[in-house]
């Protein structure tokens, strides 16, 4: 029986967090998080010290929250940590591999450590090392492997027991550009082809954009954003319209049908001659079309301003850090 089917996880959110806080003495690492993560590749974004690693450790049942509750695959992190770790894989950020053993031996051992019988563990280790591209190298000592290969071994031990969820902490850390590309492709494949849910913790925006379909942004232990990446930047407020013709008449005409419009008030987002039209439903598009037709003005462009993930990330994460407000918690 697969992990997903075994314990009735299918259909439930992967992670549910309510009012989660974690303090280390006076330092607040996580501050009242409320969060529900779907079965997806979830990117956990935040600057160093934002609380990402602390959150992962709580989700794995390795440390208890100061307040609040969290469940992973329907299991409570406080009381069912051991059971959670049977069904969750973890790839830590740091260098954690023993040097004087082969990749096959170690990954097989970690499969047994996850509860698989010895024979199945050896078979799974061989299969998974093949999947991560280490078929030939699996009998080499780990100390003889390159940084990229070691990262693959870490990934292999995280998925060898066929977990329902894999937590990857800074998976491209210390890798060269080619190795990073390969690792991101592998991670994407794990989710999209193997169907394993992921939480990818990173401070590198591009990594998250490439492999994830849901994003969570943390800053100073607080939740800044949690939504599908596809939705980021598509819905951001008002319509921006450029016309050739009498602008004042156009604004007046729209006002006559209850649609508010003004000359480019939001300077950051509009071109110099763009009108900002308050968007409160699709009827606004009809009003704009009708006004242009009635007044005989040319409609040169009509768009919604896009706020990218990068805009949000910079706005929510980097500004507070630049201002020197760090929690130093995780």
């Amino acid at each position: 029986m697969s992990t997903s089917d075994a314990d009735g996880f299918m259909g439930q959110p992967v992670v549910e967090i309510r009012g989660l806080s974690k303090r280390f003495g006076q330092v607040v690492a996580l501050d009242g998080l409320d969060l529900t993560l779907p079965r997806a590749a979830v990117g956990l974004l935040g600057a160093n010290g934002a609380g990402k690693t602390t959150l992962l450790r709580i989700l794995l049942g390795l440390t208890n929250a100061t307040a609040g509750t969290a469940s992973v695959l329907g299991l409570d992190t406080r009381s069912q940590g051991v059971k959670i770790r049977e069904h969750v894989g973890y790839m830590p950020e740091s260098d954690v591999l023993p040097t004087s053993t082969t990749a096959a031996d170690f990954v097989g051992h970690m499969a047994e450590m996850s509860g698989l019988p010895a024979r199945a563990a050896r078979q799974r280790a061989a299969d998974v090392l093949y999947q991560v591209g280490l078929d030939e190298e699996r009998y080499r000592l780990i100390k003889g492997l390159s940084t990229g290969m070691k990262q693959r071994v870490k990934l292999a031990q995280a998925i060898v027991h066929d977990p329902g969820l894999v937590c990857l902490d800074e998976p491209t850390n210390g890798m060269d550009p080619q190795g990073r590309d390969d690792m991101l492709d592998l991670i994407k494949r794990i989710h999209r082809m193997l169907g394993i849910s992921l939480i990818v913790s990173s401070h590198i925006l591009e990594d998250i954009e490439r492999v994830c379909d849901y994003v969570v942004i943390l800053s100073e232990g607080r939740l800044m954003l949690a939504q599908p990446i596809e939705g980021v930047g598509t819905e951001h407020g008002d319509l921006l319209v450029r016309i050739d013709g009498d602008v004042d008449a156009f604004i007046h005409r729209l006002a006559g049908v209850g649609v508010y419009a003004a000359r480019g008030a939001s300077a950051e987002l509009t071109a110099r001659d763009e009108l900002v039209i308050r968007y409160d439903g699709d009827h606004v598009y009809d009003a704009v079309r009708d006004a242009a037709a009635d007044l005989g003005v040319a409609l040169r462009s009509l768009r919604k301003p896009m706020q990218s993930l990068e805009d949000i990330y910079i706005g929510e994460v980097e500004r507070p850090v630049e201002a020197g407000r760090t929690d130093g918690g995780s």
Binding site: Y90, S94, V96, M110, M113, P117
Partner: protein, 300 residues
């Protein structure tokens, strides 16, 4: 060509290429007990140098050879002398005294090997992401160390007992008559193995470097033995001096063995009954376990 699915069980033609695509695991999951067994087994095999370079196997092979060789030599000589005398070449207590030296070196080798690389290379992070608790980790390491030291403290002495009785005129009668000796061998062997294993692990838990842990354990045995003997000698015939010998691993192990197998002649009386030494060793084991728990269990 489309690759066949091996799971379908269709006969494969020669040279056919299988698709090794990822498959979800459908088999049984044995959970925490399996994780504990795996960690214990892995710790034992790594400590013995199995699946490691040949140099890692040298010390265990030498020590096992010396232990087995001693049993064979004793049995061989006793078999030869049996025609002229009934006396044994080496009593069980003497044998435990001799084997203690080998065990001491053995523990100094295996205990750091079990703990230090896990801490130094941060493998602990991966272990604790598996379905075990931190206390499970400590218990698995203690079990592994006890099993390994038992192979030196109990197995050779038990073989000595077996061969010695098989050499008797009526082997089956001798085996039955001397069954009590085997029980005492098991008690002494079991206690000494747990005692040495726990001390070795407790010391090793303080460092991630084997090059520090190994000499600290070896020198620790020598220093405590020397110190205890010096203090006991200075105090002279004194009850306090008898109590101080509890602090020396070598002396307490020897005294346990000699109190379980009292010598016929030639050695002064053992100041306390066997259970007092057993209690002293048990207390040390508990303290050593507490030290390990203190070193590994706190989470934040």
């Amino acid at each position: 060509m489309a690759a066949p699915d091996p799971a379908m069980g269709e006969p494969a033609a020669y040279g056919e290429v299988y698709d090794r695509g990822y498959k979800h695991y459908e088999g049984e999951r044995l959970g925490r007990p399996q994780a504990l067994r795996a960690l214990t087994r892995y710790s034992i095999s790594r400590s013995l140098g199995i699946r490691k370079r040949w140099t890692a196997k040298i010390v265990p092979i030498i020590l096992y050879t010396v232990a087995a060789g001693t049993v064979l030599v004793v049995i061989g000589v006793e078999a030869f002398l049996a025609r002229v005398t009934d006396e044994v070449l080496m009593s069980y207590a003497d044998f435990f005294g001799f084997i203690f030296v080998i065990e001491g070196i053995f523990v100094a080798t295996i205990a750091p090997e079990m703990l230090c690389p896990d801490r130094r290379q941060d493998v602990l992070t991966l272990y604790f992401s598996r379905p075990i608790t931190r206390l499970d980790y400590v218990l698995a390491k203690l079990t592994a160390a006890a099993i390994l030291t038992l192979t030196l403290s109990f197995v050779p002495a038990a073989l000595l007992w077996l061969f010695r009785n098989l050499l008797a005129d009526a082997p089956l009668v001798a085996l039955a008559d001397n069954a009590g000796d085997l029980a005492r061998i098991a008690l002494a062997g079991g206690l000494i193995s747990l005692y040495l294993g726990a001390i070795g692990l407790a010391i090793s838990s303080f460092t991630g470097r084997k090059v520090i842990a190994v000499p600290v354990i070896v020198v620790g045995y020598l220093v405590t033995e020397g110190l205890v003997n010096t203090i006991a000698y200075a105090l002279g015939e004194n009850r306090i001096a008898d109590w101080i010998t509890f602090l020396s691993p070598a002396t307490i192990s020897n005294n346990l063995a000699y109190s379980l197998f009292p010598p016929q002649t030639g050695i002064d009386g053992i100041p306390f009954p066997w259970w007092a030494y057993a209690a002293g060793m048990a207390l040390t084991i508990i303290i050593a376990c507490a030290v390990m728990i203190w070193r590994y269990v706190p989470e934040d």
